[in-house]
Symmetry: C3
Subunit: 272 residues, 3 copies
């Protein structure tokens, strides 16, 4: 490991991996139920909501499906139909729930305002919008594009997060506060990426093919960051709030400004 440390004093950012402090799916679900039980006892006003959204169910899959279906339901698509759809996606593609579990741990780990798993599961629209995207992406890959776009638009209306179902997003992703986030059709977002509200991964011009950014593992994008066009933000890099990125950024750097300039390089720790 020491060889070449001077040229590259950081470990390469890797994809999502279970760390010693991460919980297995069933441990996580037990913890969530315990939190919900305590809350229901302490706050009578929440008891009925906590029962119908968590305590009445025997799995995180089911609980998440109910939560998302209620958020997205409308005259256009009632919650029963949404339940069926989300359940079908969860059963067909195990990656959807494994990603949800990784995302939950990411929020708990990285957001200092999030002290409990239920806070994220029940209330964070960034987390919920990401899970809706995972269902819409599954529809998109199956060729059910019009239904995928309906989900996208419904999430944009109700949670103000506009992720194209064609985008590819990794695991352990945190979208904090989330209002105004836009992620385009050909964007790629790696594992362990964190982004704040108002982040845009946008297209440049009207070309065909890849026209959106690739944001690699472990990147942190501050509030209001715009990354535009088919550029690469290298693994483990950090872009300061309000910056506009229109060129490639290397790994493990810090960039700020309009347009963004690199102000630090070879930062050893993952910023997200």
């Amino acid at each position: 490991r020491d060889t070449g440390a001077r040229e590259q004093p950081w470990l390469p950012s890797q994809g999502w991996r279970r760390l010693p402090h991460h919980l297995q799916g069933d441990e996580l679900w037990a913890k969530i139920r315990n939190e919900a039980r305590r809350d229901a006892e302490q706050e009578g006003a929440l008891a009925s909501f906590l029962h119908s959204s968590i305590l009445a169910h025997n799995s995180l899959n089911r609980s998440l499906a109910v939560l998302l279906a209620n958020k997205l339901s409308s005259q256009t698509l009632p919650s029963t139909q949404l339940m069926r759809l989300i359940t079908e996606a969860q059963e067909d593609d195990p990656d959807i729930m494994e990603s949800a579990i990784a995302d939950l741990q990411a929020v708990y780990e990285r957001d200092p305002a999030c002290e409990r798993y239920t806070t994220c599961l029940l209330y964070y629209k960034g987390f919920q919008a990401l899970q809706c995207y995972r269902v819409a992406h599954w529809l998109w890959k199956k060729g059910r594009k019009s239904l995928a776009i309906l989900l996208q638009s419904r999430v944009s209306e109700t949670m103000q997060v506009d992720v194209h179902p064609g985008a590819q997003i990794g695991r352990g992703v945190l979208i904090d506060h989330a209002t105004g986030v836009v992620i385009g059709e050909t964007a790629v977002v790696g594992d362990n990426v964190s982004m704040l509200h108002h982040v845009t991964l946008g297209g440049s011009g009207t070309g065909t093919g890849t026209r959106h950014p690739h944001v690699d593992h472990g990147v942190l994008l501050g509030a209001g960051v715009c990354v535009l066009g088919p550029v690469l933000v290298g693994a483990g890099s950090k872009v300061g709030a309000g910056s506009v990125v229109v060129t490639d950024l290397p790994c493990h750097c810090v960039a700020v400004g309009v347009p963004a300039r690199i102000i630090r390089q070879n930062c050893p720790r993952e910023p997200s």
Copy 2:
């Protein structure tokens, strides 16, 4: 045309005009119905929604009125009342539907993620918010200010687009993604303008009279652009994402930065 080309190598940006590839209103409606029919066959989950919003109606006017009334309805103003109001506006001012048709073609033409007219009509909150503004503007001109402001606030809540009903907005306008767009009371937006999400056409200070920008024909405003005060953005110009404009910009230039500086001039093509 060649005379003076060196000084001005571009054609002046013009207002909205029907181009050879644009559809007439009835061709457009036929196309929309065909798209909806195909979708209803392929995706059973959508059949009922497509029927009630498109296939059950005999005109785009009616279909649009139903869509907007459903989006805006609340305890405050039920959808039946909204239907009556929107229909009255459409009948009293033919400009409202002509503008809607121009806007639909603009989105189809300029947004590479929009492959069908129904996608825009049914799902794009930027398009829908603009059509709601057109009704609120009609109310404003009739002196029905309190109802106009109710519509404005309802659109801001449900689509996160806050356009003052007093603003003047041309035809063939694209508001892409749309979350967070703010357009002030005395702003003027020309024909064929495109703007991304988070664009602000804001006031400077608390003066009376014109206190908001004039954005001329064919301008493109990137994500998060702020144009502040009674300044002019000249026809055919482009302002890069995240820029702040506080002074006049000439025609057919490109400006970027905080505050925006001109980095290119005499660009011949309309950027929107």
Copy 3:
């Protein structure tokens, strides 16, 4: 007063105080009822809404509680339960309604697009979100954290304003347009502060203790301003749209840019 005027040509910004043109609570309520009565006569479509939200009640407290309960109600927390909760908060802490009255006057005074008190009370989501925060903050101080966070998330969904219930916010505060505003857990906002949409008072890093800004009395934060970390924005200062503040700013200055630099100092008038 003249001594030292050269060094400090402005009066220190003070907290909220009743000025000669400000109305007492009961005068304000009488004015609001008059506005509502006139509107109900002129615009039949609004009569029922104006009755149920203003004219049927005998106090501003009650009217505000009904308005907020209707905005926030959902399957999770029905409006009757919200009514009880808001009323309990109003009765337990008189500061909540005194602040609401100060906020109403601030909007009326500083927003040139707001010509009547009812416009703000009924329609401005920045005002309504702030009043919801005041109830959530009361819950937070009582240790009822999970219910406080539910309110926060519901306001973020329905009004796109994400204020942590732990934040401390003064009186006479204007949040204009409001979409995308984010205020973190340990932020402090003084009296008479004005901020536009997309303003972020955000954390830096993951430290414990105070990790958000202190924005002192009478500050004006333009659209999209990010203030990050435990920095101080001095009383009576103004930060231009789109700026990013990561260091302390003195009193009565003007700062702009990414990162923000001071371009004027010792400005005598409060900008908000």
